[in-house]
Symmetry: C2
Subunit: 610 residues, 2 copies
């Protein structure tokens, strides 16, 4: 075996020195890889405490031991660091082809420390690092930057870049790979973290292969699953995540009118997966190692020469669409492309636009802030104008660029009530009033309100989840059993983010014992499901400990007041409100935490985190 | 008729000018009197906004149209102003003999504006006002001050004074009447408000009678009730409020060990009403117009010459006793007398001691803060030493004197989690985990967490309350029906505080139609129960509007995290946690408020508050 998993390139921009760090195998086994191992790497490299925009805050990229192998849906990787948006743990995982290419270039991870004086980009080419001037790229959008890098370095490079929003330290700016196909790691403002280091992008190219102990066995095992697997994910393949818009609307899960409305059936039809498929879809997009192709490819809008670009996901349609009452698919394709090019998270962008629309409705802002922008509900052109201002930090956009909570505090009055966020980060497009467990998942997620940290709602209504002990279908409105479910689901999901592999594996039928087998074939670790879940619990608690060091306590396990106290009534969630405090009490107990939400010393000791 | 109800003496200490304001009859009918009319008076007299310790913040005292009449339990009055403790609406109602004497002196109310250069006291003697130097009284405790005033002015004066705590602007210092019998209007820090004006006390003496239209009819009507009334309140007469300690412990309503423990049966016996009656009670204390005598008179402790003094109430026993794990009745008699003399609220004092005990337990404070004070759980001597430091604002006591929230923020770390308060004011000794409706009552009370603003728990378990539409006995742990109940109960209780009459009238069987009859006999208003409840709703909403002007919104309708998320488990409340957010949503709707907790314009218009 040429090398083990865990080879991380550490680059310091202050002195442009770099070194390779081979993380010891035992630590890799304890933290797996991806977003899990990233927390360990962070803890080893970062001063304590480090401010989010301090040059010493490391920007971390990590793949997993199965990234780029024959394991199904294994083409993902994670970015991490202390979040400029929330001030707490920041991570964003994403698919595409960049992670696999990083491993082919000879590295499993990358950590960037310090700050460059001039704009630069990094080029990793088969084990070699170059730090190159990026003065000519600064100010370009993400598509243009990818194009320019490919022109310089050849078509085969994979790039991860930031847009103008990241350069301007917009708090909800992200990282973009796969060029015009725009795979986005956009939550937690890690685009601003890279921007603060004056790094426009990271190009990677390699001709090697990731280390594997039994590549043939792994390939065989994956192949054997294929038919059954793709059968189970047929709907996702056909409609992508936009296929969720209709079903989510029908059960009251889709945010509408800044989380105030329960029903929007005609609108949901106009922005749903069926509409997208029938009238706009050019082809599917597949990440590395993918056999599903949930990604949508559509024609470009902003540049008439652009033949193909990444289409909107469910989250984008929910946050920029229904939540802003924008019901035109062409308008949403345009807004999606705009955010991707400027380098913005579409979840926070949609939430900020809806927030500003409500500010205008309530008379808290007017012409003085908006100029000629006619920011009425459903006005897509106005949304576009506002998003441009945000990315460029011009006028009122400069204030919104600091995130929902920061902006609302400066607007004053009741504005914080209309900012549907916690920790300065927008709630994603699943409504805690539609499923009790989401309430708990949002509140206790390590990285701020996140729908995929627990993903528990996927199991709450229709299926059991025996892998984590959920043997009966639960009542989605009840509190009973939800804390157990969320704890279990968080472990499973943190594991997949650490692998870093696509969670749709779960819906394809991949169980943890099989993951253990793949890991053994890749690394030699003889891990079973129990050890994997324990690793996930370790990872979860390490992130909690990091957050606690930055001031997190029970008061931060919270939800916006609107979803706790406003009933939507007329929709599929009926008059349900999540019984939040009751579930949270259960949750602490199950986690072995104090009533203040701190891990007990014995819990940390059990997890080898003492 | 010599005069109407609504004659208020306005004193300005800046120029020592005074004038009489006869409030128009229509306004009196709309706001009744007491704590209700005080809000109207405040609105008329105070600049908007006014800081709590600004000389322009009026100190208001108001009786009701039945104060000092033959109406049962009518010997009460209210104090009010913007609270130095919470920064929001502040009021405290109390019994005793001061209010009746104020009316005999020819006034129904009093408002003090401005600030004196030198310490003074006010002397109202049969319509005449004197502002006298109080240099010789400054620094005396409340008992000594009362004694000195009686030596100067004669034994027949009734005094309302502050102690050293009020002089030192301790945020939970109160107002004390009836001398050694210590009737205390101690919540909301109105002692500090009077202290900030450099007023040590207000002595009143009068030989007149309150205006009444049909005194004989009123007397007859009250008399006719007597036998049945006193029969219903026999238990209260025999044991006073200390009789509640045992029953409250048994249902999980008594705070124990800073709200962490559910069961303390032996301790509760040692500090309960039976023990007090058998071994310490000298006689009962009756407020003016009282036929029950729930007040306890016991021997003095701190001064061996003191034959009689006011004994502890349930709240004192709960907050300084069980909540601090102090289970000695002699120790509690001593702590009660100490707080009364120093001029402190025993609810906040107990909460602050328990908070400090937990800080010590958790290692957040130690010898540097406490010196030689051995602040372990249950140590009454240490509690006494700490309370002395608070009243004198010495050492660590200076920090605690600013109130729970302010102190906790300065201690830092997790200290805010151990401060069981909202708006810098301690939760009183009834546990929201024992009855769901208390949760809502505490959170929405105009004056911060208050058990008597809704008093709904008195009806939640065992009785119906047809007067407010509660026709069935409700499940104390459920959320259903609780918002309706709390809204109705708040109206009834706000009415009694506006009358200002004792709420035990309810338990004696006095219904609102009878109150209307008494009011007609006193004032000529032909008011029925519906009009009285509408007045209460008007008063409730006026206070809400005042609070909103000072920044209150839905975020302020809250509870401490401990009572929302920590189960006591082993006690009478079992594993119950109040389903708070669900009830709050109902509550806003019933009140005709927006989802942000603001009264709708049409609600205000309906109540003639537009």
């Amino acid at each position: 075996m040429s090398r083990q998993f865990g080879k991380v390139l550490i680059v310091n921009l202050d002195d442009r020195a770099s070194r390779t760090w081979q993380i010891e195998d035992q630590k890799c086994r304890q933290f797996i890889g991806g977003a899990g191992l990233a927390a360990y790497v962070f803890q080893q490299l970062a001063p304590d405490p480090v401010a989010p925009l301090d040059p010493a805050n490391p920007f971390i990229a990590l793949t997993g031991p199965l990234t780029g192998t024959a394991a199904l849906l294994s083409g993902r990787h994670s970015f991490a660091g202390r979040s400029p948006q929330t001030g707490f743990w920041g991570e964003a995982s994403v698919g595409g082809h960049w992670g696999r290419e990083l491993r082919r270039a000879g590295f499993d991870g990358l950590a960037i420390l310090g700050r460059s004086e001039e704009p630069v980009y990094l080029y990793l080419n088969d084990g070699r690092l170059e730090i190159r001037n990026a003065g000519h790229l600064w100010g370009l959008d993400t598509f243009q930057t990818d194009q320019a890098l490919k022109a310089e370095l050849g078509d085969k490079v994979q790039t991860c870049v930031i847009g103008p929003a990241g350069e301007n330290l917009v708090k909800f700016s992200g990282l973009f790979t796969d060029g015009v196909h725009a795979r986005t790691a956009a939550r937690c403002g890690l685009g601003a973290l890279l921007g603060s280091k004056r790094v426009k992008g990271i190009a990677v190219r390699g001709t090697g292969e990731p280390p594997l102990r039994e590549p043939e066995a792994l390939k065989e095992s994956a192949k054997a699953l294929l038919a059954d697997f793709t059968g189970r994910l047929k709907g996702m393949s056909e409609f992508g995540t936009p296929g969720l818009v209709g079903p989510c609307e029908s059960i009251g899960d889709l945010p509408i009118n800044n989380w105030r409305q329960g029903r929007w059936t005609e609108g949901a039809k106009r922005i749903g997966g069926q509409e997208l498929k029938e009238n706009y879809l050019k082809k599917k997009f597949f990440c590395a190692g993918c056999v599903v192709g949930c990604g949508r490819t559509v024609a470009g809008v902003l540049d008439p020469l652009l033949q193909e670009t990444g289409g909107p996901e469910y989250e984008t349609l929910g946050m920029l669409g229904s939540n802003c009452l924008i019901d035109s698919m062409p308008a949403l394709l345009r807004l999606n492309e705009l955010c991707n090019r400027l380098g913005l998270d579409t979840i926070d962008a949609g939430a900020v636009v809806a927030f500003a629309m409500e500010l205008k409705e309530k008379g808290l802002i007017g012409p003085a802030e908006l100029g000629s922008i006619d920011l009425d509900w459903g006005n897509a052109k106005a949304a576009e104008e506002l998003i441009e201002l945000i990315a460029r930090r011009e006028g009122f956009g400069d204030l919104l660029a600091d995130g929902l909570e920061a902006a609302a505090e400066r607007v004053g009055g009741l504005a914080p009530e209309y900012a549907i966020q916690t920790h300065n980060m927008a709630l994603p497009a699943h409504d805690p009033r539609a499923y009790s467990s989401i309430a708990l998942g949002y509140a206790t997620s390590s990285r701020g309100p996140c729908h995929v940290n627990a993903f528990s709602h996927m199991f709450e209504r229709a299926t059991t989840f025996p892998e984590i002990g959920v043997e009966a279908v639960l009542d989605r409105f009840a509190s009973q059993g939800k804390a157990e479910m969320v704890v279990g689901a968080q472990h499973v999901m943190y594991l997949w983010d650490s692998l870093a592999m696509c969670k749709f594996n779960i819906f394809g039928g991949v169980r943890l014992h099989l993951v253990g087998q793949w890991l053994e074939q890749a690394t030699g670790w003889d891990v079973d499901a129990a050890e994997l879940l324990e690793a996930a619990e370790r990872i979860f608690n390490l992130k909690r400990v990091l957050n606690i060091g930055w001031g997190w306590s029970r008061k931060d396990d919270r939800l916006p007041l609107r979803v706790l106290t406003l009933r939507t009534n007329d929709g599929g969630a009926g008059d349900h409100l999540p019984p939040f405090n009751v579930m949270l009490a259960d949750y602490y107990k199950i986690r072995g935490w104090t009533e203040e939400g701190l891990p007990q010393p014995e819990t940390l000791k059990r997890l080898d985190l003492a």
